[in-house]
């Protein structure tokens, strides 16, 4: 991985192709889970890799390539969220809809996915990013701290706040 970073910073075009190939799907997943919109996430992924290409010479190798790319993605998503007005679903409605019906029929699963998205959308941007990186991307808190430029304790605290908020939203009282 360090070798990829060195080659990327050195202007190796093949290293850039490799970076895109290796990380673009993960970056799309992160962007989608933060923005909750497929087209916006695709636009964001393209912007992320445009920035990676533009800034590749300034990659200093203090962090791994993927935490550097995640940081670019998270920062661009934050900028985007600042400009975007999102409608949040009232907490009571989410809890009610989760409580109604326990079957796993396809329609129910589809509705569940929709609700999960709406639950995640209610999180403040920073908590949302930390939650996505930890819960879905399985990054360690140390890695999340690197991505978010915060402390390990700060990353953990944001994760705990997010989980507790989502638990209450899911009807956990």
């Amino acid at each position: 991985m360090k070798d990829l970073g060195r080659r990327l910073a050195g202007g190796d075009e093949e290293a850039f192709n490799e970076t895109v190939e290796r990380f673009s799907r993960q970056v799309f997943a992160v962007c989608f889970r933060i923005l909750r919109d497929t087209e916006e996430a695709k636009d964001m992924v393209q912007e992320v890799f445009t920035r990676v290409y533009l800034k590749r010479h300034s990659f200093k190798g203090h962090s791994s390539v993927y935490t550097w790319i995640y940081r670019i993605a998270i920062n661009l998503c934050f900028s985007h969220l600042k400009r975007k007005r999102t409608e949040t679903v009232p907490l009571d409605e989410v809890a009610y809809r989760l409580a109604v019906g326990e079957d796993t029929a396809d329609s129910r699963l589809e509705e569940l996915r929709d609700l999960v998205g709406k639950m995640i959308e209610t999180l403040p941007a920073k908590q949302r990013a930390v939650f996505v990186l930890r819960f879905y991307e399985k990054l360690s808190f140390k890695e999340i701290a690197e991505v978010m430029k915060t402390s390990v304790g700060g990353a953990k605290a944001n994760y705990h706040f997010a989980v507790e908020h989502l638990r209450k939203l899911a009807g956990g009282g």
């Binding site: 989608f32 393209q46 890799f49 445009t50 920062n75």
Partner: protein, 199 residues
């Protein structure tokens, strides 16, 4: 979590870490013992497990393979197209930048680029924002993704202003100097400066 004690309820965060599976074996065993006799914490852990189960249903939509296949090429093209517009619409401003412009105007050509280092090398983007009183990011106008404001606070947080300059190629840096000279030389009225620098 070495502070876990058998004689108290675990903290909320400790129970979350327990369900998350990030506790040490020792701490995990302490909590397991506690849960055997504590309805309150057991109920809380069950609600966490249910929440995690619900959240695990989130799914990322399928995207056509062609999108990823051409991503690298698109990124290169967007970079080329955006390069000039980034230079023409930067809103880096404030006293430091004005000083920079004045120096550029006064310095012999061969020393101009070196001055960028001298003036900006140690100034962080945050210091620039504070000294100017606003975020002086720059606008990108990419044909494929639409216009976008790249905020210094968000994107270059913790980095120096020089990090921004550094993202430009040598040719772009030289052209930036030419553009600054052109604008300052052809029209030095305040309205022109306001448009260019956005402040």
């Amino acid at each position: 979590v070495s502070t876990l004690k058998r004689d108290r309820h675990p903290e909320t965060g400790e129970l979350i870490d327990f369900v998350d599976g990030t506790l040490s074996d020792e701490s995990r065993n302490v909590i397991l013992e506690h849960l055997k006799t504590c309805d309150r914490c057991s109920t809380y852990v069950r609600s966490l497990e249910k929440t995690f189960e619900v959240l695990s249903h989130d799914q990322v939509p399928q995207v056509e393979p062609a999108f990823f296949a051409y991503l690298a090429a698109k990124a290169r093209r967007s970079d080329e197209r955006a390069g000039w517009r980034r230079l023409l619409v930067p809103s880096l401003a404030g006293a430091a930048v004005v000083a920079f412009i004045m120096l550029v105007l006064l310095m012999p050509a061969q020393q101009e680029l070196d001055q960028i280092d001298l003036i900006m090398a140690d100034m962080t983007t945050q210091e620039l924002i504070e000294s100017v009183g606003e975020d002086v990011g720059y606008e990108t106008v990419l044909e494929d993704v639409g216009g976008d404001f790249i905020s210094l606070e968000d994107y270059y947080q913790g980095e120096t202003v020089y990090d921004f300059i550094e993202t430009l190629s040598r040719a772009e840096q030289e052209q930036l100097v030419v553009e600054i000279k052109k604008i300052m030389g052809s029209d030095t009225s305040s309205s022109s400066n306001q448009t260019f620098w956005g402040c």
